[in-house]
């Protein structure tokens, strides 16, 4: 007999008259409803909420799940373009690929796992990888790569900062490597403002048959439809994770229990079993929906599957496969146990589906208690009803669950930083380059990449560090590649959030173009401080404006006249300790389509006799540069350099044509540290057996900005016999192209300038400086 009255109420209507007190009492039990929500919930339900309902709505209305402070603003981002199949709103975005992969779709997702990684770096980063992979898998895709954008504290600061750095890298490697998903790079920055609030953004890319993309919804038709939970047995790990990720990091108490526990071994076998299930569903024409279990666990997965399909759901918690120890129903319902998915399939197919996981792949042998179970059914009545031992523990309108919540936050814009003018004399440029390469932000990322398997699946053609973007071939044997790169300079976004955001999009797209990729789609994660601070909201609005304006200008290489679409994204707020917020840190991933993957330029210069040509904006300012921060030791480096988005689009077009025409062997975007660092990186990325000779004369610029300006530009290594075509194409696009020098047989880097005469660096000294900073972090000799 089901009796509503038998389940515990979270609070009574009487108590709700003092919502503040109820909110505090709930918080002590780990339930996050603010005073307004304490009043709202009974109004929505028409009665006092049950315990499990309070937990559920606390999760649903968390910033993490509801985007309540930002959803209305996110509409500013362009998301439409001809190649978009599924835009923002699902677990991942989906875009079409061109011939010869027109039967395939590219699936992209982007998330943050910031708070968990600060508290438990290894587990936090590992479950971040696990979660983003599931977001892509649940679209019916095979995951082809993960990327990570990391914003660490200053490693010289304290051992706990270094522990976080080492732990995050260990977590990413420890999960991604066994999972069999290649790590395709990303980026890493270090700044003291992340000392207590690390950013771990994870991105995943997958490949699905274009007509076999699964949706996270109950399909149309009579069914009858049942929900099948597959994977790890439900336990209490990660209970309260969404609320945890929606608060600042400085409240009292140990929050490690809110971090989920990873098992990549199970995840691997589960993925292989999923592939078999996908094949079976497609071969038999079974209509099905799939969703991964993330924030809010079973409750969110099932209710969202039902609501998206215009149905309701009846869920029997007794039928969950779960750990042996006794757990209350709200925990079974909302725990964030990892490595689980929820299918919705016709009842007639459920036994066969369970058999794949339970028998053919023997999940129970792989992880004790893992398996697949029917846990409920879809209903035509649009109610979400959950029972536990014959007692109703949740009973509400499905629409109440998905209606979400909005909060209008006041915002205030601050005045962006002005461009920086330097009045002090410049130090020795030879030492300056070594200082930049030897700084933690300028040092080689190689030490870190060597922890990761970047080529499992055997289709990675440009590994992290080899090209400005990573490159893989989605369908080996077919002539098409996909390039992926990340952009976002925290110092620039701090100095001028809008201009910094423009640069973030341009940087990611430019790196993709350098490897011959036509920028095809974007994902983003907007990492910020507390939305309750009007200045943070002001930065957030400025960031969105900058991202949107840049995306609108840079989509032409995929579809003329169209924007470069944002197809998936995430917002991570409350990245702060006390009143100290992180700088606004949008992180953008760009995916590009490479029509000639065999000819994709890396950054390494090769055989002697090729021309080195810089194309881009004049080298006339040092504002915002790593040179000002690192060499001149100015903490405020000033505004980012200006960016002309029309020029940027033409520059990227040149890079793509140069790659497709096989005119260039290498291409490297000028980034942190300017031209000098770019040239050194091109030299060091190769075998080290050749050299670079450059003369700065053609730049007609003062020495320091010529070497270290960070205005947009690309250094190309142009094949001598194809240089005429290259110059012609640059001229046609009204681009300035400066011939700077050649690759030579004598190893080393030589730069000539009127001001300084000849500057020379040996490969060995460049390499030693470049390798040292990250190696030190792992060897505890940090100074």
């Amino acid at each position: 007999m089901t009796l509503l009255g038998a389940a515990t109420r979270a609070y009574t209507l009487e108590q709700a008259r003092d919502p503040g007190a109820v909110s505090r009492a709930l918080a002590a039990r780990g339930i996050a409803l603010d005073a307004e929500e304490v009043t709202l919930l009974p109004a929505l339900l028409g009665r006092a909420p049950l315990e499990a309902e309070a937990v559920l709505f606390g999760i649903l209305w968390s910033e993490h799940c509801s985007y309540k402070s930002t959803r209305a603003l996110l509409r500013r981002l362009p998301s439409a373009a001809p190649q978009v199949l599924i835009g923002p709103g699902e677990d991942a975005g989906v875009v079409a690929l061109p011939v010869p992969c027109q039967d395939l779709a590219l699936v992209l997702a982007h998330e943050s796992h910031n708070h968990p990684s600060q508290v438990l770096p290894v587990e936090g980063a590992a479950t971040g990888v696990g979660g983003i992979v599931r977001d892509v898998v649940c679209m019916g895709a095979t995951v082809a790569g993960v990327l990570d954008a990391l914003r660490f504290g200053d490693p010289a600061a304290a051992v706990h900062v270094r522990d976080v750095i080492r732990g995050v890298v260990e977590g990413i490697a420890g999960y991604g490597n066994p999972l069999g998903v290649p790590n395709l790079g990303g980026d890493t920055c270090f700044d003291e403002r992340f000392d207590g609030a690390v950013l771990v953004n994870v991105m995943a890319v997958g490949i699905a048959p274009r007509d076999g993309v699964l949706r996270s919804r109950v399909p149309d038709g009579a069914g009858p439809w049942v929900f099948v939970l597959v994977g790890k047995p439900t336990d209490d790990s990660g209970f309260g994770g969404a609320a945890f990720a929606s608060g600042t990091l400085d409240h009292d108490g140990d929050r490690r229990g809110a971090v989920q526990l990873p098992d990549p071994f199970l995840a691997r076998v589960l993925n292989v079993a999923n592939e078999e299930a996908f094949a079976r569903v497609r071969a038999r024409g079974v209509r099905a929906g799939l969703k991964d279990l993330g924030a809010g666990g079973v409750a969110c997965a099932v209710s969202e599957l039902a609501a998206a399909g215009g149905r309701g759901a009846e869920l029997v918690l007794d039928d969950l496969h779960r750990v042996a120890r006794e757990l209350p129903p709200e925990v079974l319902l909302c725990a964030e146990t990892q490595e689980r998915y929820c299918w919705v399939v016709p009842e007639a197919f459920a036994a066969e589906l369970c058999g794949i996981y339970e028998r053919e792949f023997a999940l129970g042998d792989v992880h004790p208690g893992a398996g697949a179970r029917v846990i409920g059914r879809a209903t035509t009545a649009r109610r979400f009803r959950v029972t536990w031992r014959d007692v109703v523990v949740v009973d509400c309108d499905v629409d109440a669950i998905t209606a979400g919540r909005r909060i209008a936050r006041p915002s205030r814009r601050r005045v962006p930083a002005a461009p920086r003018k330097l009045r002090r004399p410049h130090p020795d440029p030879r030492g300056a380059l070594l200082a930049l390469l030897g700084s933690v932000n300028g040092g080689a990322r190689d030490y870190l990449f060597r922890h990761y398997d970047s080529e499992v699946q055997g289709r990675t053609w440009l590994r992290p560090g080899e090209g400005d973007a990573a490159l893989f071939v989605p369908a080996p044997g077919r002539n098409l590649g996909v390039a992926l790169a990340v952009g976002g300079n925290p110092w620039w976004c701090d100095a001028d959030p809008e201009l910094g955001a423009r640069h973030a999009v341009a940087e990611a797209a430019r790196k993709v173009a350098c490897t011959g990729g036509r920028p095809w789609a974007l994902t983003d994660c907007l990492n910020s401080g507390s939305p309750e601070d009007p200045l943070v909201m002001g930065e957030f609005e400025a960031t969105l404006e900058g991202l949107a304006v840049a995306a609108e200008a840079l989509g032409g290489l995929a579809a003329p006249g169209a924007a470069l679409p944002f197809v998936s994204g995430n917002v991570s707020l409350y990245n702060q300790t006390g009143t100290r917020a992180i700088p606004p840190s949008p992180i953008v991933m760009c995916a590009g389509v490479v029509k000639e993957p065999a000819a994709a330029p890396g950054i390494a210069t090769g055989e002697p006799g090729a021309f080195l040509v810089l194309v881009g904006e004049p080298r006339d300012t040092l504002t915002g540069s790593a040179y000002v921060r690192t060499v001149m030791h100015e903490s405020l480096a000033g505004a980012p350099p200006a960016i002309d988005l029309g020029h940027e689009a033409r520059l990227e077009e040149l890079a793509v044509l140069a790659a497709e025409g096989r005119w260039v062997r290498a291409a490297h975007a000028v980034g942190d540290g300017g031209l000098a660092v770019a040239l050194a990186e091109m030299l060091l990325a190769g075998s080290g057996l050749a050299g670079i000779d450059v003369d700065l004369g053609p730049l007609d610029s003062a020495l320091a900005p010529a070497l270290f300006s960070e205005r947009p530009g690309i250094v190309f290594e142009v094949r001598a016999e194809r240089a005429a075509r290259f110059y012609h194409a640059a001229r046609e696009r009204r681009l300035l192209a400066w011939p700077l020098g050649t690759t030579v047989t004598t190893p080393g880097l030589r730069i000539r300038a009127a001001e300084s005469g000849m500057l020379e660096w040996s490969v060995a000294e460049l390499r030693a400086a470049h390798a040292a900073p990250l190696e030190r972090i792992w060897n505890e000799a940090v100074t």
Binding site: R268, E360, D365, E455, G458, R459, A598, R662, S687, E775
Partner: protein
């Protein structure tokens, strides 16, 4: 003739099935992936066996240790005894060592110990160069000793270890078909050319009859010439550049394919 059937054994936790299958297909073989739950009788239907890379049984106890005791691998040992080719790559090599199939005949003689690297510990993934040694191994037969093949490694436990003098003895007996090479093409003595501290730079060990090969580097990841690491210099890089300027659209055959071609030749497939 119909292409010889090759079993790619999918133990729980392995993760290199797809690219291994692709490499086998490219040299004219007919690979089939079967799970650990298979009926051991079915092994008889196959002409050769591959244990792909990954983390079988979560590397519990020691990498490869649990897999070596599994029914599927025990049945595979019987097939190897009959002279059928067996290739273990990375975790597959660890399984063959733990099962005593290499060097073979005297139980478990070797270990794959944790990498030894200056300034770092644990898992290490990078491209290295391998040098072909004179041996009786069917997988490298037909490749001139001294030839250098660039290839990636990706492991935490890849340091071949035997009783004192045993590795030198194996090298002398022609049971070490591949060693890590320095830029001059000689056996490597230092990191990073020697990525794991393996004794005498040993990268792979075969049994005396040459039909079982345990190789730590990943030949299946070096099957596309277009995917050659950009740090690689020498003839493979030059060939890549030459094809590129010719306008070739296909990926081209990479250095790793040589190992699979050795298997195909042995099974009578002519490219």
């Amino acid at each position: 003739m119909t292409a010889p059937a090759v079993l790619v054994l999918q133990l729980p936790g392995v993760n290199c099935e797809t690219e291994t299958v692709r490499a086998l297909e490219r040299v004219g073989l007919a690979p089939r992936v079967l799970r650990w739950t298979l009926d051991s009788e079915r092994l008889r239907d196959f002409a050769a066996f591959v244990l792909p890379g990954g983390f079988s049984y979560q590397d519990r106890v020691r990498a490869g240790a649990l897999a070596a005791k599994s029914a599927a691998v025990e049945a595979l040992a019987a097939e190897a005894e009959r002279g059928k080719p067996v290739l273990g790559i990375c975790n597959g090599a660890q399984v063959l060592v733990e099962a005593g199939l290499v060097p073979g005949g005297a139980g478990v003689e070797l270990a794959l110990a944790r990498n030894r690297m200056p300034g770092r510990a644990g898992y290490y993934a990078a491209w290295i160069e391998l040098r072909i040694e004179a041996s009786n191994c069917l997988f490298t037969r037909g490749i001139q000793p001294g030839t250098v093949l660039p290839m990636p490694v990706a492991h935490g436990e890849g340091r071949f270890l035997g009783a004192p003098g045993r590795m030198a003895e194996l090298l002398g007996a022609g049971c070490v078909p591949l060693r890590y090479a320095d830029p001059g093409g000689q056996a490597a003595t230092e990191f990073p050319a020697l990525p794991n501290g393996s004794e005498l730079a040993v990268a792979a060990v075969s049994n005396p009859s040459g039909n079982v090969l345990a190789i730590m580097p990943h030949p299946e990841r070096a099957q596309d010439l277009a995917g050659l690491a950009r740090t690689a210099a020498g003839p493979w890089a030059r060939e890549r550049e030459r094809r590129l300027l010719e306008g070739a659209l296909d990926p081209g055959d990479g250095p790793g394919l040589e190992i699979f071609r050795g298997l195909a030749r042995h099974l009578g497939v002519t490219a």
